[in-house]
Amino acid sequence: MIQRISYAFRETIASFRRNMTLSVAAVITSAVSLLLVGTTFLIQRAFDNLLVQWRGDVGMIVFVRPDASADALAFIKQNLESQPNVIDVKKLTYLDKAKSFEEAKRVFAGDPTTLSLLSIETIPSQFKVVPKTTDPTLVRSLADQYRTLPGVTGVSLAEDEFDVISTLSSFVRTVTIGMSLVLLAVAVILIWNTIRTAIFARRREIEVMKLVGATDWFIRIPFIMEGLIQGLAGALVSCGGLWGLNRAWTSGVAGFKAGTGVSSLVVPSGYVSGVMVALLIIGAVAGGVGSGVASSKFLDV
C-alpha cells in the first residue's frame, strides 16, 4: 500500500515537471479565477455591512434617545402608526438598544474608535420604517415632522445613504460572478487539457501498464492527483492574493474619515479565512473534476 502511494506521488511529480509550461498556465488561470471568486465574496460582504441597516426595504430610520422614557417611545410609535397610507405599519419594527448595538458592530467594523464610544447604555434605539409610497417628497416631509418629536435624536433616509451604492453593489456582483464563472470554466478546461497532454505523453507507458495487468485506478490516480494539485496550487496562490488585497483595502479604508460610511466596508478577518477555505475546496474540486473526466476519457488505449 505504502509502495503504491509513493508510486502515485512520484509519477505525479514527474508528470508535473514534464509538463511544466502547461501546468503553470493551468495553475495561474485557476489562481486568477479563484481570486476573482474570492473578491466577489468580499465585495458582497462589504456592501452587506453597509446595507445591513437598511435590509428589507427599510426607507427611513427614526433614532430614539437612549434615555427616552417609555411614554416618549409609545408616543413616537403611535405617531408612526397614525400614517398607514404612507408607512407600512405591519413592517414597522423596533430595535431595542441591545439589538441596535449588535447591528452597530457590523456597521462600524472598520471604525473601532467610533465603536469604542458606543455601549448598550449609550446607543440610540431605532424604529425601522418601510414606506408604502414611492413618492420621495412625501417620505421626506414625514421625516422632517418626526425629527421634531420629543425623544427623537435624528432620522435617516435610505435615499440619502445608499441608493447609489445599492445599485452599484448589484451591478458589481453580477459582473464579478459572471467573470469568475467564465474564468473558472477556463481553468477546468485548461486542467483537463493539461492532463490530456500528460496522458498522451505517456501513452506508451500506459499501454504497457494495461498489458501487464495494472488496474485502471492504478493508472488513473496519478493523473487525477496531478489535476487536483494544480487546482489546489491555484487556490493557494489566490488565497495569498486575497489576503494581500484585503490588507490593502482595510488600510485604505482606515484613511477615510470616520462616519462617512466607507469605514463599514471593512471585512472581518474571520470571514476572509472562511472565503479562503471555500476557495481551496473549489480549486481542488475543479482540478479533480477536470482531470477525472480527462483521465477516464483518454485512458482507453
Partner: protein, 267 residues
C-alpha cells in the same frame, strides 16, 4: 509418452497417449467429465469466434481451436490474415462479435472489465517492436511490470535479476534500450513478459525485426520458457523459425483457419 489419468477416488479412468490432448482419455468415461477435463487441460479455447473491423470486413471468421497447457503454437499466414487479431482476442484487447474465448477455464468475453487486469497478469506479451520504455533502464523496464501490479520491492529485487539472468542479460541491467541491439531489446521484452511467471506467453512477430541468427537465439529462449510449462502462442510469417521448431502450426488465410497441424511446417 503416455499419461495415466485417475479419477478423484483413485480408480483408473484412462490413458492419454497424446500429451497435448489428454482429455481424450475421458471421452469414453462420461461426457460431462470430458467437458470439465477439457476446461482443466486447455489453456486457451476458441469457439466459433468471429471478429469484424468496420461493417463487412471480417478479420477472423468462425475460428475454433484449443491450445493445451504447455503447448507451443505458431499462428502463420500473410499480413492481414488475422494472426494479430487472434492474439488480441486472447488477452481481450478485442472482443469478438460472435463466439467465445476461454482462457484458463474462464470465458473472458463474459468477464467484467474490472477483472481484465487480473486476467492479463496470467499472460505475458511480446511484440515485434518490443514496446520498451526508452527512459527506463533494462532493470527498470522489467521491474515496471511488477511494480504496476503492486508487487513489493523485495520481490522485485529478487525476481528481476533472476529473469534477466535467464534471458542472458546479466550485467546489462543499467543500460538503456537505445544502448542495446535489437536482439537484446527483444530479450528485455521477453524478460518483462515472463518475470511474473505467466501461464501463457503471447508473441506477435517477435523475430520480425531481427536478423536470422538473432532470431534463432530468441526462438531458443522461447523454447526454454515453453519447457518450464508456459503455454506459448506465437504469430509469425517467418518460414525459417516455424520449419526449424517443428511445433503445432495453425495457418490462417483472410481470417479463416485453413490448416491446424501437429509438428507442422510453414509451407
Amino acid at each position: 509418452m503416455a499419461i495415466l489419468i485417475r479419477s478423484w477416488k483413485g480408480s483408473f479412468v484412462g490413458v492419454a497417449h497424446n500429451p497435448s490432448k489428454p482429455h481424450k482419455a475421458f471421452v469414453g468415461a462420461h461426457p460431462g467429465l470430458a467437458r470439465i477435463a477439457k476446461l482443466c487441460f486447455f489453456m486457451i479455447r476458441l469457439e466459433n469466434v468471429s471478429k469484424m473491423y468496420g461493417s463487412d470486413l471480417p478479420a477472423v471468421r468462425d475460428a475454433s481451436f484449443d491450445v493445451a497447457k504447455g503447448d507451443f503454437v505458431f499462428l502463420v499466414g500473410p499480413s492481414g490474415s488475422g494472426k494479430s487479431t487472434l492474439l488480441r482476442l486472447m488477452n481481450r484487447q478485442e472482443r469478438p462479435e460472435r463466439g467465445n474465448v476461454w482462457v484458463a477455464g474462464r470465458n473472458i468475453n463474459e468477464m467484467a472489465n474490472s477483472q481484465i487486469p487480473y486476467l492479463r497478469r496470467t499472460m505475458g506479451n511480446v511484440f515485434q517492436d518490443y514496446k520498451l520504455l526508452p527512459n527506463k533502464t533494462v532493470f527498470e523496464n522489467v521491474a515496471f511490470a511488477l511494480e504496476v501490479i503492486g508487487k513489493p520491492k523485495h520481490i522485485i529485487g529478487q525476481q528481476v535479476p533472476q529473469v534477466l539472468d535467464l534471458v542472458g542479460l546479466s550485467g546489462k541491467e543499467d543500460r538503456f534500450p537505445h544502448q542495446l541491439s535489437g536482439g537484446e531489446q527483444q530479450r528485455v521484452s521477453i524478460a518483462r513478459a515472463f518475470v511474473n511467471r505467466p501461464l501463457i506467453l503471447l508473441a506477435d512477430e517477435p523475430t520480425g525485426n531481427l536478423d536470422p541468427a538473432t532470431g534463432e537465439g530468441i526462438m531458443a529462449l522461447l523454447d526454454a520458457i515453453n519447457r518450464t510449462g508456459t503455454t506459448i502462442v506465437m504469430a509469425t510469417h517467418d518460414h525459417r523459425v516455424v520449419n526449424a521448431m517443428r511445433r503445432r502450426v495453425i495457418q490462417l488465410d483472410r481470417g479463416v483457419i485453413v490448416r491446424d497441424q501437429e509438428r507442422g511446417v510453414y509451407e
